[in-house]
Symmetry: C2
Subunit: 329 residues, 2 copies
Amino acid sequence: MRIIQSGFGAVGQSLAGLLESRDDIYTKYGIMTKFVAISDSGGTIHDESGLDPARMIQKKRQEGTISDSKKSISSIIQNMDADVLIEATPSNYIDGEPGMTNIITALKRGIHVISVNKGPLALALPSLVEMAVYNGVYLRFSGTVGGGTPILNYAKKSLRGERITSFRGILNGTTNYILTSMGGGMSFEEALGDARGRGYVEADESLDLDGWDVAAKLTILSNWVMNQKTTIHQVERDGIRDVTQQDIQRSTERGNAIKLVANCNDVISVGVEDVPFDDPLCIHGTLNAASFTSEHSGTQTIIGRGAGGIETASSVLRDLLDIRQVVTK
Amino acid sequence: MRIIQSGFGAVGQSLAGLLESRDDIYTKYGIMTKFVAISDSGGTIHDESGLDPARMIQKKRQEGTISDSKKSISSIIQNMDADVLIEATPSNYIDGEPGMTNIITALKRGIHVISVNKGPLALALPSLVEMAVYNGVYLRFSGTVGGGTPILNYAKKSLRGERITSFRGILNGTTNYILTSMGGGMSFEEALGDARGRGYVEADESLDLDGWDVAAKLTILSNWVMNQKTTIHQVERDGIRDVTQQDIQRSTERGNAIKLVANCNDVISVGVEDVPFDDPLCIHGTLNAASFTSEHSGTQTIIGRGAGGIETASSVLRDLLDIRQVVTK
């Protein structure tokens, strides 16, 4: 498979390293991968005969960018021979760019798309899905929700034969870490400072603290799992900035913890809620959790790491296998 | 699909009711189901043109058995035209009968098998899988682990592209309920009495209390998920009879709860362990939980109801869809 990858940050580099290290992807699944172009914020690099992943990672570390070409990534996607675009530029919830243009260009040319960028999906998932179907290609995005934990896949494939009637989840590790620290006695500012120090907080802090990241993931879930045609603008959204140490203590006394919960039933909303300590959803630290309630099987909760370069890269690998299975049928 | 069902207890009746009530199984999946024979402990009933599920449930309730034929279930499986056997007789860990003979007879005749009976699988899963492969049919058993919670399917399908390196789980709701009650202050005898009163304990109490049920589920998991060729005799097995109120208190003081944990890594074992309160595996009441640790994605825990007639019936429906998808390819 000839891969164009837009974005070469933590996930992009982890993926390059993963594909490089796993010989069994060819021996076990028959998939030969080749990066024919990569972009980062500094520019692009491309080679019809394939780029060496290890050298790209090294170049990025040494020079800060892989750039050595004057071509833009959009003209590369428009013109180069490729099977799949892996879109891994940063999420942008204003207009979704540059990911939006990258994805649309690829889909229209009949190139499969795997996106770990939530921006374009949160803003336009219904129409992007339609565009993929119309052009006979696959749009996959397992890594956007739950990092390496296959939450979307679980809901879509493991619960076949049943209707999922509602969903609740804790989908942002950073805010859950801050709320957990506050449960241990820290003030909001102290907990935020600690999370910043550990590198958990996005450069644009509002994405975490004001619930944008959760709202984006919830939009993706509601479309993919619940068959709703929604965008991020339909999500009732609130964050954790107003949670005080007093709120936390009052909640603890009642046997609960305050969590930033994403809900999908009649309404789609993100906001702080009391969650009982013995609810499986009540997870601590940077973990993520998703509870699906289905017709016959009750409520099922899946818990795992929500982020991380190598974890998210493993979900891209699953998407590659998924696409390949379909293509080779 | 022409179905022979051996066993007509809680799961069998729930499945008959489920298939009867869900018109969309035909409209959505194109699957037309027909029970051509059913057995229970009283005997058998069969009709080439199909048995009415609602009437069978009513007959069972009114007469205590569906029996109206002199034919044995094994001769029916041997001779009747059918696509799939649903094996739902009680689990027996001595020789696996009558399920063992039912399953082997069906596989040899080229009839797919869905088993919710753990006995034959715990005793001989490696050879039964081989027999299914050799005869070109499918052997499925989603309902044997986790009831309606698709634990086996999750591990097998949602984590594609990764190796699962180890497994831990709480796989028996009855013992977890008893240990949870003891955590609330009851003695072992009181907690057992309470669980009996609620109908949670198997007629043969040893299956729950001495870890046989967990060992059987663990055997199935280790074969299906970890590709080990094991039988229940290789499981190091211990139960909960020796847990005292003192043990519970000592554990609580350390921030832990005592749980009956199934482990699969270098050894395969079932025994009581301290589990920290903030470990996602530390679930309460009758819930089940399974934690898989994989190569790239860390530890992922899935939590849900572990038993129940309708929940387990929903997993049989998933197996039917799984088989059908393959058959119609």
